[in-house]
């Protein structure tokens, strides 16, 4: 069965980034249909299509929009989260560079549904090229009357601005983003109040990821059922899976939500680089606990007996509409997990951004854990003590291991440190730093011990050549 492409279909067309090229490819048709509907109806379509947030949390988009107080009469805002910085993740950047008008069209639909008159695209500062392309696209949309004071001749106002960040992972956390947009340091806020009630400049604000919003136009062209049937019964649509690391063909693969991690790596990604063996996969960006090719009883139970009732009342087994030919494996390993929002948590990891990083049998898990921890230590905003200090301590301890100076009991110490960061911070960065470390210690404990006993890292230096990027 041919795979339907919702987002990547026109990425190969260089004209697609202009308004005229996008319209030639069928663009700005979804918004025309949506603008004929009542705002509440738009929200219902999105709920019915089961659009889930693609920035990492997987929260249902239509439900999020419903949190904006109905009786509030002042200004409301949309902040498009384009602060893509999670290691492994590079999908939003390509949407913005190759299909910027799809994002703007989605934003117009969203703003109509929630009664918003101003949106900001918060793009990470390093993405200078993407920001320029977006600015050009916004300008074109104004010139054509798709943005401005009479959007598509409806008499409604909608203003859009590209706002560049300046190098801080934490600004991808929604309330960190709000503070940053307000001209402050990007330190996250306490929740509640949630941004939908008290957000940007203290007004109700919706924050959605680039990929989430870019999905909207196609839903209004083809219908909610079409979109839902592309994915799984708990989440509609396709997903961009940007894969990297030691895979033969790293790249962005747009596939039905729920495609198994195994298929993404072997069927599409061409297997492990250089024909080597797989050691593990970080499934959805650096914060997701690593998965290993070992049999998983939890996954077998989930695939054959279904979700625990407390999570989904209406049905037990998740259906994979986008790939009806898929057979549930009899004795799955963790790598057989379907990559959707509800399946990956069944084996104590997360879909995250769907950005799998592949580690081969020559990759040192201690070194990988160290790099991940260096990232979170560097990016901790410094607001909460457990995260600010704990990430640094974990980095020091991992550094000690990697350089052969680990001491008896350090594995447990490391695990305990991670556990004391988990759940003790204002935002999820603390958890995001703790979970991968816990998983590496749990799943590769013998390798930590080996480092300690040998007094050095047993792995030779890694030599894997750079690879070009594939898009399919």
């Amino acid at each position: 069965m041919a795979v339907v492409k919702v987002l990547t279909e026109f990425w190969g067309d260089p004209e697609n980034r202009t308004l005229a090229g996008y319209e030639k490819n069928g663009g700005y048709q979804g918004v025309r249909k949506a603008l004929k509907m009542e705002p509440a109806e738009i929200g219902n379509v999105v709920k019915e299509a089961k659009v889930r947030g693609a920035g990492g949390a997987g929260f249902p988009a239509g439900i999020k929009w419903g949190f904006v107080p109905k009786d509030y009469t002042g200004p409301r805002y949309l902040c498009i989260n384009a602060d893509e910085s999670e290691p492994g993740t590079y999908k939003d950047r390509y949407i913005m560079e190759r299909d910027p008008h799809r994002l703007i069209e989605g934003a117009i639909i969203l703003c109509r549904a929630v009664g918003i008159e101003t949106f900001y695209i918060y793009i990470r500062g390093e993405l200078v090229k993407a920001a320029k392309i977006l600015e050009e696209a916004v300008k074109e949309a104004y010139a054509k009357g798709y943005l401005g004071t009479d959007v598509f001749g409806t008499g409604k106002t909608l203003h859009g601005t590209v706002h560049r960040g300046a190098g801080a992972y934490i600004c991808g956390e929604e309330t960190g983003l709000l503070n940053s947009l307000e001209g402050k340091t990007g330190q996250p806020r306490y929740k509640p109040p949630f941004p939908a009630v008290t957000g940007l400049f203290g007004k109700p604000t919706i924050i959605n990821n680039v990929e989430t919003i870019a999905n909207l136009p196609a839903i209004f062209v083809n219908g909610a059922k079409w979109f839902l049937d592309l994915g799984v019964s708990t989440a509609g649509g396709t997903k961009l899976y940007p894969i990297s690391g030691l895979v033969e063909r790293p790249g962005i693969y747009e596939l039905p939500l729920g495609t198994s991690l195994h298929d993404i790596i072997y069927e599409y990604g061409g297997g492990i680089a250089g024909g080597r063996k797989l050691k593990g996969v970080i499934p959805g960006g650096a914060s997701c606990p690593v998965l290993v090719p070992e049999p998983s009883e939890a996954l077998r139970k989930y695939l054959h007996e279904g979700l625990p009732r407390m999570i989904r009342g209406e049905e037990k087994l998740v259906r994979f509409e986008g790939r009806p030919e898929w057979k549930r494996p009899e004795n799955p390993t963790e790598i057989d997990v379907p990559m959707d929002y509800d399946s990956v948590p069944m084996i104590k990891s997360m879909l995250g951004t769907g950005a799998a990083m592949i580690l081969d049998d020559q990759t040192c898990p201690v070194h990988t854990a160290l790099r991940i921890t260096m990232f979170f230590h560097h990016e901790s905003c410094g607001q909460c003590v457990p995260c600010r200090e704990g990430t640094g301590w974990m980095e020091k301890l991992l550094h000690r291991f990697e350089h052969g100076e680990g001491r008896e009991g350090d594995e447990d110490k490391l695990f305990a440190m991670a556990s004391r960061i988990e759940g003790t911070t204002i935002c999820a960065l603390g958890d995001a730093a703790a979970w991968p470390v816990q998983a590496f210690v749990r799943k590769f404990r013998h390798e930590f011990e080996e480092h300690r006993k040998l007094g050095r890292c047993p792995y030779p230096e890694h030599t894997v050549r750079p690879s070009p990027l594939y898009i399919a």
Partner: protein, 157 residues
């Protein structure tokens, strides 16, 4: 030292994109404009921007030191940023960083070379993991880099 008329006008223009009672929202755009002109953000410039967007100089300083892209010290004409996160590391980014350090006598995150040509920074994920390793030189991404291509690229600058 002061900003040019054009830069001040660009900052005033940036303020119009935010609600009239929220001029401080233009702080990040203002700092980008200033840094593009001056190359980095000396204290006098930070103070001038504080006046333009209506915040205290200490607030500007706090913001400048929080975000990695804002520089409170000079950088080279070609600022070389090598990604050190997982995917780039797996594809040989550390070797590239070593090469740049040895060949041009640079230390990461410190002052530029004596002729002001290059400076080096080890950065976290640049969202280019599929075409790793990536080296960002000023605003431009150089993807799927190997040692030879990197040296060739740098020698042409």
């Amino acid at each position: 030292m002061a900003l040019s008329k054009n830069a001040v006008a660009a900052i005033e223009q940036a303020k119009t994109r935010y609600p009239p009672d929220q001029p401080q929202a233009a702080l990040l755009p203002a700092l980008h404009i200033a840094q593009a002109e001056v190359g980095w953000l000396p204290l006098e410039i930070q103070e001038e921007i504080a006046g333009l967007v209506g915040v205290k100089p200490s607030h500007v300083r706090e913001v400048v030191t929080f975000y990695t892209m804002f520089k409170d010290h000079p950088v080279g004409r070609h600022h070389i940023q090598v990604c050190r996160s997982v995917s780039c590391c797996l594809r040989g980014a550390d070797k590239l960083a070593e090469l740049v350090q040895e060949r041009y006598g640079l230390k990461p995150d410190s002052m530029p070379s004596a002729d002001g040509r290059f400076s080096l920074e080890l950065v976290e994920c640049l969202a280019s993991c599929g075409s790793a390793p990536v080296v960002q030189i000023n605003d431009d991404y150089h993807e799927s880099m190997d040692a030879k291509t990197l040296v060739d690229t740098l020698e042409k600058l």
